[in-house]
C-alpha cells in the first residue's frame, strides 16, 4: 500500500496544440488558444471566444490515419485518440499490451457534439442507416471503449463523470488501483469536445464571459469554454524503475471531498475547497509552505474564484505560494480540465517555471492575494498543487512532486 505512484508518460491535445512543445511555447509567449470560433456550429458562435482545437474532425481523422467523413468517431473520441496518440509517441504500446493495466477515462457529455446534430432523426422511429454509426455514442463510455478498441488494447476500463473535476478523479482512481495491486499501470485522463449543448448550458447559467476570461480579477465576467483531451501513464515506482522509465513526477497527494452545499455553486467561504487542499497536503506529508505553485481551478466565474481564493488564503495564508489559473490559455475544458492542468503542473516542475494567469489586472477586493500574471522562469518548483472543482459540490486536489 505504501508504494509511491509515479507518472512516466503524458499525452495532450488542447487549443494550444498537441504535445509539450506547443504548450510550453504558448506559455512562454503568453499566446492564448482562446479565440474566435471556427468549427462549433452554434447560433452564438460569433459572439463568443472559445478554447477550440484548431482542427476540423476531418483534419483530426487524417492526423490519426482514419478515413474522413462519418467514420463513426465523435469529436470527443477523435480528441481522446489524438491525446492517446501523443502519449504513445513516448510510450511503447507493447507496455500496455503485455501486462494488465487500467484505462480510466473521464467525460461529461459523451458524443453530444455529434448527437446534437442528428438527435431529432435518431428519435424518429424507422430505419436510420445514415446515423447508425453514431446511435450508441450518447454516453460517456463511448470514447473510452472506442480508444481501447482502436489500439486493440484490453485494459480494465472505467469512465468517470463528476463534472469539471472528472479527470482529476481518473488520476486518483488509477493511483488507488495501482496501490491495491489491481493493476501495475494505469492510463488516466479524460476528454471533452465543445458542443452546443454545453455552451448553451453554461450560457443559460449566465456564467460565460463573451470576452477572454480573467480569473481572480475583480472585474472577471465568467468562464470561456474549451475542449481538450489528455492522458497520463501512472505506474508504481518500482515498476517504473524496473524498466528504467523516465519519471516525470510523483503523485504524492490527492483528495476528493464534497462541498455538500449547493448543486452548482461552491461554498462561499471556501470551506469545502480548503478541506480538500488540506487533505491532499496531509496525504503527501507536506505543509502549506512546501508547495511552490498552485495551479488553481480559476474558472473566472464570480462564485468559483471567490470561494477558491478564500480557500487558498485559508490554507496558505496571505503569503500564499505562486498561483495561477491556466484557463485563459485553454478555456475551461470541463472533463479534461483536471488532467490537462495536472500535466501543466508536472511541466512546471520539469521546466522550473510558473505559468502566468493571463488577463489578470485588478486584485479581488475580498482577497489579500493575487495570481502570477507574467511567466516566471528558473524558480525552484518541487511541489505543485492542482485544484479541480465541479458541479455537485465535487472538489479534487492533486499534488505532484519532483521525482
Amino acid at each position: 500500500m505504501a508504494e509511491r505512484v509515479v507518472i512516466t508518460g503524458l499525452g495532450i491535445i488542447s487549443a494550444l496544440g498537441t504535445g509539450k512543445d506547443a504548450h510550453i511555447t504558448a506559455f512562454r509567449n503568453s499566446r492564448s488558444g482562446v479565440t474566435s470560433v471556427t468549427h462549433l456550429k452554434s447560433i452564438h458562435a460569433h459572439e463568443f471566444v472559445l478554447g477550440e482545437i484548431k482542427m476540423s474532425n476531418d483534419e483530426l481523422s487524417e492526423k490519426l490515419g482514419l478515413p474522413p467523413g462519418d467514420n463513426g468517431y465523435t469529436r470527443t473520441t477523435l480528441l481522446c485518440l489524438a491525446a492517446m496518440d501523443d502519449l504513445l509517441q513516448i510510450t511503447d504500446i507493447d507496455l500496455l499490451r503485455n501486462e494488465p493495466f487500467a484505462f480510466i477515462n473521464a467525460n461529461t457529455v459523451g458524443g453530444m457534439s455529434k448527437m446534437e446534430d442528428i438527435y431529432m432523426d435518431v428519435i424518429t422511429t424507422g430505419t436510420d442507416e445514415k446515423n447508425n454509426k453514431y446511435i450508441n455514442t450518447l454516453d460517456c463510455a463511448e470514447s473510452t471503449e472506442n480508444v481501447a478498441e482502436h489500439y486493440a488494447l484490453k485494459p480494465m476500463m472505467a469512465t468517470i463523470s463528476t463534472a469539471c473535476s472528472s479527470s482529476s478523479n481518473s488520476l486518483i482512481l488509477g493511483a488507488r488501483m495501482i496501490k491495491h495491486g489491481l493493476v501495475k499501470r494505469a492510463v488516466c485522463g479524460g476528454g471533452d469536445a465543445l458542443s452546443r449543448f454545453t455552451l448553451n448550458g453554461f450560457y443559460s447559467l449566465k456564467n460565460v464571459d463573451k470576452n477572454p476570461c480573467k480569473p481572480f480579477d475583480q472585474n472577471r465576467g465568467g468562464l470561456n469554454l474549451g475542449e481538450a483531451a489528455a492522458y497520463c501513464l501512472l505506474e508504481s515506482e518500482s515498476a517504473a524503475r524496473a524498466r528504467g522509465a523516465n519519471i516525470i513526477a510523483v503523485l504524492s497527494g490527492y483528495a476528493n471531498t464534497n462541498d455538500a452545499y449547493h448543486p452548482t455553486a461552491p461554498s462561499p467561504t471556501g470551506e469545502g475547497a480548503s478541506r480538500t487542499m488540506q487533505q491532499a497536503l496531509d496525504m503527501a506529508s507536506l505543509t502549506p509552505g512546501d508547495i511552490d505553485y498552485i495551479n488553481a481551478h480559476g474558472t473566472a466565474t464570480q462564485n468559483n474564484d471567490l470561494s477558491e481564493g478564500l480557500a487558498i488564503q485559508n490554507v496558505f495564508g496571505t503569503s500564499a505560494p505562486y498561483f495561477s489559473s491556466t484557463k485563459p490559455f485553454t478555456g475551461h475544458t470541463l472533463a479534461a480540465a483536471g488532467v490537462i492542468e495536472a500535466i501543466f503542473s508536472m511541466w512546471a516542475i520539469e521546466e522550473q517555471m510558473v505559468i502566468p494567469n493571463l488577463h489578470f489586472e485588478t486584485r479581488m477586493e475580498e482577497l489579500g492575494i493575487q495570481p502570477v500574471n507574467t511567466i516566471m522562469e528558473n524558480k525552484d518548483i518541487d511541489h505543485v498543487l492542482s485544484n479541480s472543482f465541479g458541479f455537485g459540490g465535487s472538489n479534487v486536489s492533486l499534488i505532484f512532486s519532483k521525482a
Partner: protein, 357 residues
C-alpha cells in the same frame, strides 16, 4: 482484494413493489410493450415540496432510494457516496437538448442542463446527508454499478476504522431512449409479456427497464445479513473464460461448484448471449437453485442492482420466492450466492455474496 463489503441495507425502486419490500411481487407488475417503468414510491418522504417540483424523476428516484437505504441502515452521514449510472437523468438531457434545438439556442432555462450532469444525484445526497467526504460517479455502461462497488471495496480496504458507505446504481428508461436503443437491437422485435421474457430466448433483444438501487456498505459485519466477497467484470468473455472466472472466484473463497446454493442470473432473453447462458446453466451443480430477475426489472445498464438487492433479501427472508426460481436445486440453505449478470453487449459481471454468520 480480500475486503468483504458487508451489506447493511438494500433499497430498490423498480417496476415491482420493491420499495415497500413487504409487498415484493404482490402483485407482480408486468407489461406487454417491452417496457417496464418503475412503480413510484412516495417521493415526498425525503424531498421538500419546493425541491420536488423542479426535480426530474431520475433525481427523485436516486435521492429517495439513497436516503431510504441510509435510513434503514441507521446511518445519517455516510463516509462516502459512490454511484454508478450509465446515463444519469436521461429526461433532463432530452429536455434541454430538445429545447435548445426547438428554441434555436435562445431563452433556455438551465434546470435540465444542471440535472443532466451525471453526478447531480451524488451532489444532492451529499447535501441532504451533510456528507463532505469522498464522492464519486462511474458512468461505464454495464459496469457502472460494479465499478462503484469496486471503489467501495478499495475504500473499505483503505479504512483504518469502521466506515459506512452509500453505494448505488440507477438508470432511466424514456420513450426516446427506447427508440434509440431499439435501433441498435437492444429490444425484441415482437411485443412480449415481460413475465414471459425467458420463454423468448430464441429471438434477439430484451425488454427495457429502469430502476434505482442503493446499498449501505461497511467493513463492520454487525447487522449485515450478507457480504460481497468477490467481484469481477469480464469484457466480452468466451464461455470458457466465464466458466474459468467463476471457478477461480469460488476457489479463491475456498468453495466448489457444489457449495453454491443459488445462482442469481441476469438472463435477459437475448438469443445472442445464449452461448454464455446455456453452458453456464448446464455447468451448475444439481445443488444450485438458478434464479432470474430481468423478467421483473427489465434490462438496463445498472440492472445488476436489482439482482444484488434480491440476493441481499434472499438472506434476510431466508427463502427464495418461487416466482424468481428458474431451476430448482437440491440445496435447502442459503449461504453462498453467485450473482451473474449478462448484458446485451455480452459483458458479464460476477459477485460472490456470502451469508454473515
Amino acid at each position: 482484494m480480500k475486503q468483504p463489503l458487508y451489506i447493511l441495507s438494500a433499497c430498490s425502486i423498480s417496476p415491482q413493489h420493491t420499495y415497500d419490500v413487504e409487498h415484493f411481487l404482490d402483485p407482480i407488475v408486468s407489461s406487454d410493450d417491452n417496457k417496464l417503468y418503475v412503480t413510484n414510491p412516495d417521493y415526498a418522504k425525503y424531498i421538500s415540496p419546493v425541491a420536488i417540483r423542479r426535480m426530474s424523476r431520475m433525481l427523485k428516484m436516486g435521492i429517495t432510494a439513497g436516503m431510504h437505504s441510509l435510513e434503514v441502515a441507521g446511518v445519517k452521514t455516510p463516509d462516502a457516496i459512490i454511484i454508478g449510472t450509465a446515463r444519469g437523468s436521461v429526461t433532463d438531457m432530452e429536455n434541454f437538448l430538445k429545447d435548445m434545438i426547438n428554441l434555436k439556442e435562445e431563452a433556455l432555462t438551465p434546470t435540465g442542463f444542471i440535472q443532466s450532469t451525471y453526478n447531480s444525484v451524488n451532489g444532492w445526497l451529499a447535501m441532504m446527508t451533510k456528507s463532505t467526504c469522498y464522492n464519486q460517479t462511474y458512468v461505464h455502461r454495464g459496469f457502472s454499478l460494479e465499478l462503484c462497488l469496486l471503489d467501495a471495496q478499495m475504500m473499505l480496504a483503505e479504512a483504518t476504522e469502521k466506515q459506512y458507505l452509500l453505494a448505488g446504481g440507477f438508470d432511466e428508461l424514456t420513450e426516446e431512449y427506447f427508440i434509440i436503443r431499439d435501433k441498435i437491437d437492444y429490444y425484441k422485435d415482437e411485443a412480449i409479456n415481460s413475465g414471459n421474457l425467458l420463454s423468448h430466448y430464441n429471438t434477439k433483444g430484451s425488454i427495457g427497464g429502469e430502476g434505482a438501487h442503493f446499498f449501505t456498505l461497511s467493513n463492520d459485519p454487525a447487522n449485515a445479513a450478507c457480504a460481497i466477497h468477490s467481484l469481477r467484470m469480464l469484457q466480452k468473455p468466451t464461455s470458457q473464460e466465464l466458466q474459468q472466472a467463476i471457478a477461480t472466484m469460488l476457489e479463491q473463497n475456498g468453495l466448489t461448484n457444489d457449495d453454491l446454493d443459488v445462482m442469481m442470473c441476469g438472463m435477459n432473453g437475448d438469443s445472442r448471449n445464449r452461448f454464455l447462458i446455456d453452458p453456464l446453466i448446464a455447468g451448475c451443480s444439481p445443488n444450485t437453485t438458478i434464479a432470474s430477475f430481468k423478467q421483473f426489472s427489465g434490462e438496463y445498464d445498472t440492472a445488476s442492482g436489482f439482482g444484488l438487492w434480491l440476493v441481499n433479501h434472499l438472506f434476510t427472508w431466508k427463502a427464495i420466492p418461487s416466482a424468481v426460481i428458474y431451476q430448482q436445486g437440491s440445496s435447502n440453505s442459503i449461504k453462498n450466492v453467485l450473482l451473474c449478470n449478462v448484458t446485451i453487449a455480452c459483458n458479464v459481471t460476477l459477485m460472490l455474496v456470502t451469508k454473515v454468520v
